[in-house]
Structure formats: C-alpha cells, structure tokens
Amino acid sequence: MLDWIKSNGRGFSIAVALHVVFIGALLFNWEWDKPKRIVLEQGDVIQVNSIDANSYDAEIKKIAEKKRSDERLKQQRKQQQVKKKQQEKKRKAAAKKKKQEAARLKKEKLKQQQLKKKALKEKQLKDDAEKKEALAKKQAVEKAKKEALAKKAADAKKTAEAKKKAEQDKKRQEAKRKQQVEAEKKRQAEIKRQQKRDREEWLRKSKGIVNKYAALISRKIEQNWRQPLDVASDLSCRVNIKLQPTGKVISVRVLESSGSLSFDRSVETAVRKASPLPVPEDRELFEQFRDLTLFFSPEQEPGKN
C-alpha cells in the first residue's frame, strides 16, 4: 500500500483531497442549513493579511475587509465546493456518463457488433442472396442467352427449315410443274402421235377415197379439156390449182408451160370449166385437194389413134 502511495503520491494526495472535499462538503452542506459560521478548513491555503489596528475604520474596514474577504473566501470556498460538487457531480456524471457511455459504447459496440454481425450476416445473406440472385440472374441471363441462342438457333433452324422447306416446296413445285409440263408434253406428243396414227390409219383407209376423187377430178377435167385443133399432140403442161372446200377453183397457175400459149390456155380453161371439182366432203381429206398439181398430156393410149 505504501509502495503504491509512494509511487502514486499525486494520486493519493488527490484522493485525500477529494476525500476532504467530500467530507467537508458533507459537513458544509449540513451547516448551511444552520447559522452561518466560517470554518477554516484545514488543508485550504488562506492568505491572511495583519489588520492594521491603527484605524477602527481601518480596523472595521479591516474587519469588514476581513469579513468580506472571509465572505469572499467563504463564497469562494462555497463556490469552490459548489464547483467541486459540480465538478464531482460533473465527474460523477462524467463517470456515470463515462460508465453509461462505456455501457452504451459497450452496448453500442455489442449492438454494433451485433449489428455488424447482423449486417455481416445480412451482408452474407445479402451476398448470398445477391450471389444467389446473380447466379440466378446469370443463370437466367445464361438461360435467356441460351434460350435466345436456342431460340435463335431454333429460329435459324426454323428459318432454314422454312427456307429449305420453301425451297423444297419450290423445288417440288418446280419438279411438279416440270413434271406436269413434261406430262403435258408427253400427253400432247401422245395426242399428236395418236393423231398421226389416227391420221395415218385414216389416210390409209381414206386413200381409196382420195384415189377415187383424184380419178373423178381427172375425169371431170378431161371431159372439159378441149384442145385447139392446131396444136401438136406431144405437148404437155403442168399447172398448180387451188381449190375451195366446195371444190371451186380459186386459181390456176402454169408451173411448166407447154410452150404453146393456146395449149396452156386450153388447160387453164379446162380446169375452170370443170369447176367446181369433185372433192371429198371431209375437211381433212379435202386438205389433200386444196393445193393440187395437174399434169396435162393429150397423148392417147396406143392404138386409140
């Protein structure tokens, strides 16, 4: 204890002072409630001036002075005590405050710690949440991206497919069209072939009719073929004639002249005289008679003069 006082003299002094002040304050407080008495307090440093005994006034003054000084001292003391009390109070309040502050701080700290903890926790939670969210978001984004990609791919695929499909369709249609054209062509060709076959068949069948009409034409023209008297009998003449379906002669054109204009004229007249010529009623058969070449030769068969 002594060691501790020795080493902490000032503290001890302060503590003793504080105790004196404290006890004195306690007594003072009590006296104040009784008549006023000036009590010197040991320990207080009082400066005392010797009263000039010469003058009452001076003395009274001195005494008043002294009284005033005491008063002032007392006042001062009081004030100091108040101040001390106040200081104590202040100190106590400060301590209390300090304590409270400490507690508060502690509490605060705790709270803060708690808060911190909580915040940490929250942060962690938040972080976790954020992380989670980010993850989720990322995942979502990725998912979205993925989806978008997939969609894009799908779209692309779809488009490609659509395109492909369109192309295929087109191709198919083209092919179909071609096929149709081909088929039509084939059909037409077949029709034509058939027609040709029919025609050939028909022609074969109708050859007899054609021959008959050729003979009828020959005979009708021959019957109308009057030759001039003074032409040689070794002449011949080839003409082209054009007929209407009625057999009417539209034109007679000399292809190879006999060399005798009057002989050529007789041929032309014979054809025109014989008009209308007998022709088949069938339009197609008639086509063979539309444009005819006629060869005229007056020479008689041998033995017929």
Binding site: S218, P228, L229, T269, A270, F295, P298, Q300
Partner: protein, 437 residues
C-alpha cells in the same frame, strides 16, 4: 361396175406418190374448134348498123376452122362492153371466149368501133380494140378484129384482112352469053370488086408480093396474053404475048420476076421474065409438058408440073437470077397425078392437087419427109392457094356441077369451110399476101 373399175384404174394410174402434194394426171381431152361468142355490136337506139361486124367476125372465125362461134339464139345476153357481162350466164353456154363491141357514129360516115374479147372462165380481158373508120372500111375493121382474135387465141398471125382474086364464069352453059370476070374480094368472098370482064376466058390470076398488082392471062385477044394490072388505077400492061401458050404467071418473092409457061419454042417450058428488062430466062427444056411454075419463098427454086415421067408430077428446079437453072428433080411419087403445086409461106410444104381414085383433091406434101396428105374429100378440086399465114388453103371445087370456093385448114382433120357461094362458076382463086395497114 365398169365405171368403178375404170375409176380404180384411173386412180392407180394418176396418183403420183413421189411427191407429197397430190398430182393428178389428165390425159386425152378432145380437139375441137374453140367455141366463141361474138355478140352483135351495139348500135345507136333503134338503128341498124350498115355492116354487121359481129357476123363478119363469126364467119371469119368459123371459116378458119379453129373456131365454132355460137349462134345468135345461143347468146344469153347481148352486152356491148366488158364491164356489163354476166359471166355466170355465159358459163352455161358452150362458149369459152366472148367478144363484145359497139359501133358509134362520130361524124359524117365516120364510126368509132370498139371491141373487147374476154375469157369467160377466168373473166380476164384478152384484148381490146378501138378504131375510127369510114363506113366503107367497116368490113375491113371486122376482119382486123378477127385477125386480133385469131392472133390472141391461136398465137399465129391472122389472114382475114386479106384479099382473094378469082375468076367467075357466068352462063357457063350458054356459050353465047358466057362471060368471064376477074374479081377480087375480101378473104370471106364479100365486097367483090370486078377487075376485068370479058367474053373470053380469063385465067391464072397471081398477086404481086406487095398485093398491089395482079398478073393474069386473058384470052380477050383470042389468044393467051399475060397482063399485069395495077389494082388501084386499073392500069395494065402486057408482059407476054408470045406465039403459042402464055400462061401461069407467078411473081417471084422479090417482085422483080415472073415465072411463066411459054410454048414459043414449040413445047411448054418454064421461063422467068425479068420485069425491068423484059429478058426471058428459060428454066426447063424437055419434050414433056412443063407448066404451072411456083416460086419457093426464098426465090431460089421453082416447082412445076411436068409429065416428063409419063404422068403429071411435081418437079423442083433450082434457079438464080442470072445463071443457068439446075436439073429438075421429081418430088412427088405418090399416085399418078399431082399438079398445080404452091409453096407454103415457110417453104416447108407444098399444096397441090392430087388424084386419088379418080378424085382430084387438095393435098399437102411435106418437103422434108415427102409425105403426102390429102386434105379434102371432094371430087374436083383445083387451084389450091395458101393463105399468107400458111394456115388455110383456098381452092375451087365443084358443087352440083358448079365451081365454088372452099378453104381448108392445113393442119388438122376437120371439114373444109365453104366460102360465100357466088353466082356463077368460081374458079382459080388466089390468096393475096398480107395487106399493109
């Protein structure tokens, strides 16, 4: 049945399979004169044309033997112009050609004649003709139209616008009143003009190459004398009145000489007289009868009739203007009588009188092949004479004991066409050369 077989045979014969287009052969046909319609020419209202031009044309065409004109009652209508023809109606007639015309008086004795020939079956105009003439030339216009038709349809020059000279004997059986007339007429025997009238025989008229003069033999001086007479003026001159026979004058193609038969040297011989100088050139010298000389168209030879072989035959002898004549060569061998030969205008044929089974007929001799072809079927033909286009031969023949004129187509086998039957006996016709327009 036969018809069907016939048609089948025809069909096989006539269809030429070589070409795609059908070719039909027409063999045979028939020859005939061209049927033609010549519509009477229109004339002013209710008036009569002084000359029936259409009738003259019809007769001309008919006489040529190459045409058979429709009769008037066969004409379905009588259009005067080409644009007023209903061809459909004409097609139902026999005609192939149709001639329409009009005569319009355009002044005192002046007429405008129009004519169109149309092909009935083609409707084409063959030709059209227009001329303004005096009334006295209307006949000639008709013949010119005939020539045009002939030329267009036969493709040969026509000889209708020509003249004939002939001798007519009137009152042949009455020796006291018998008269002889030398006349010329249109080729159809109309529009006769008397050149010479005589109580004595007139013989052998011959045309100068330019058609302006006639040489003939007249017995008016009681002996044969050869005269040349200008037709326009009637002026004539004696060119041969030698002792004995003076006969058969024939003008050389150049018109400068006349071949004739003279017996001044005792026997009938062929001579050539050079008209400018009167110099005679003796061509034949034979004891047989040489007569009826005729010139080749090239003037380098003569044909004549001679009985030097026993029977009358045709001989040919080369002649030239100054030198000696060649040796006559016999050119007819068929039959025992051939006389009175004349050359065709192209010199390729002779026309002559050929006796066949006692009939004297006109025949033609091909100078190249020496083939003889009889053209007539009459009994007594004489004096055949070529038309200047060589297509027809004019000759005299006998009908009921009377001489008449006939024409026969040289190529062909149709009947001769009789010319106008004149009063009296007609003989010794001679066809003129072409006339200048």
């Amino acid at each position: 049945m036969f018809q069907q077989i016939f048609l089948l045979i025809l069909a096989f014969l006539f269809i030429m399979p070589s070409t795609y287009a059908l070719e039909i052969e027409i063999k045979g046909g028939y020859q005939s004169a061209t049927p033609i319609a010549i519509v009477p020419f229109s004339w002013g209202e209710g008036q009569q044309s002084p000359v029936d031009i259409a009738k003259i044309i019809r007769a001309d065409l008919s006489r040529s033997g190459l045409f058979s004109p429709l009769k008037l009652n066969e004409l379905p209508e009588r259009p005067a112009y080409g644009d007023s023809i209903d061809f459909a109606r004409w097609k139902s007639t026999a005609a192939e050609q149709l001639g329409v015309g009009a005569i319009k008086p355009v002044g005192k004795n002046k007429y405008e004649v129009t004519f169109q020939l149309l092909d009935i079956f083609s409707g084409q105009k063959v030709f059209s003709y227009r001329n303004t003439v005096d009334g006295k030339n209307l006949r000639r216009i008709a013949h010119q139209i005939s020539d045009n038709i002939y030329e267009k349809l036969v493709q040969e020059r026509g000889a209708f616008d020509t003249l004939i000279a002939y001798v007519v004997v009137n009152n042949n059986r009455d020796q006291k009143n018998r008269t002889y007339i030398l006349a010329i007429a249109d080729s159809d025997g109309f529009a006769e003009k008397v050149i010479l009238k005589s109580k004595k025989p007139i013989m052998s008229p011959a045309w100068s190459p330019n058609g302006k003069r006639l040489a003939y033999v007249s017995f008016e001086k009681n002996r044969s004398v050869i005269y040349i007479q200008e037709l326009k003026t009637g002026k004539r001159q004696v060119i041969a009145k030698f002792k004995g026979i003076n006969s058969g004058p024939r003008w050389s193609p150049d018109g400068k000489r006349i071949a004739m038969t003279l017996s001044k040297d005792g026997n009938s011989e062929i001579y050539i007289m050079h008209l400018a100088s009167g110099v005679l050139q003796r061509i034949t010298n034979h004891y047989g009868i040489d007569t009826e000389a005729a010139w080749a168209p090239n003037g380098q030879s003569l044909v004549f009739t001679s009985d030097r072989g026993g029977k009358p035959q045709i001989y040919q002898v080369a002649v030239n203007k100054s030198g000696r004549a060649g040796h006559p060569k016999r050119i007819t061998h068929e039959g025992n009588y051939n006389s009175r030969a004349s050359f065709s205008p192209d010199g390729k044929e002779l026309i002559l009188v050929h006796r066949n089974n006692g009939n004297y007929r006109v025949a033609k001799l091909d100078m190249n092949s020496r083939q003889l072809k009889v053209l007539t079927r009459s009994k007594l033909d004489e004096s055949p004479s070529f038309a200047p286009n060589g297509k027809l031969v004019l000759y005299a023949t006998e009908l009921h004991g009377r001489g008449i004129l006939e024409a026969v187509i040289v190529d062909g086998s149709h009947s001769p066409q009789r010319l106008r039957v004149l009063s009296g006996d007609v003989r010794e016709p001679a066809w003129s050369p072409y006339r200048s327009q």
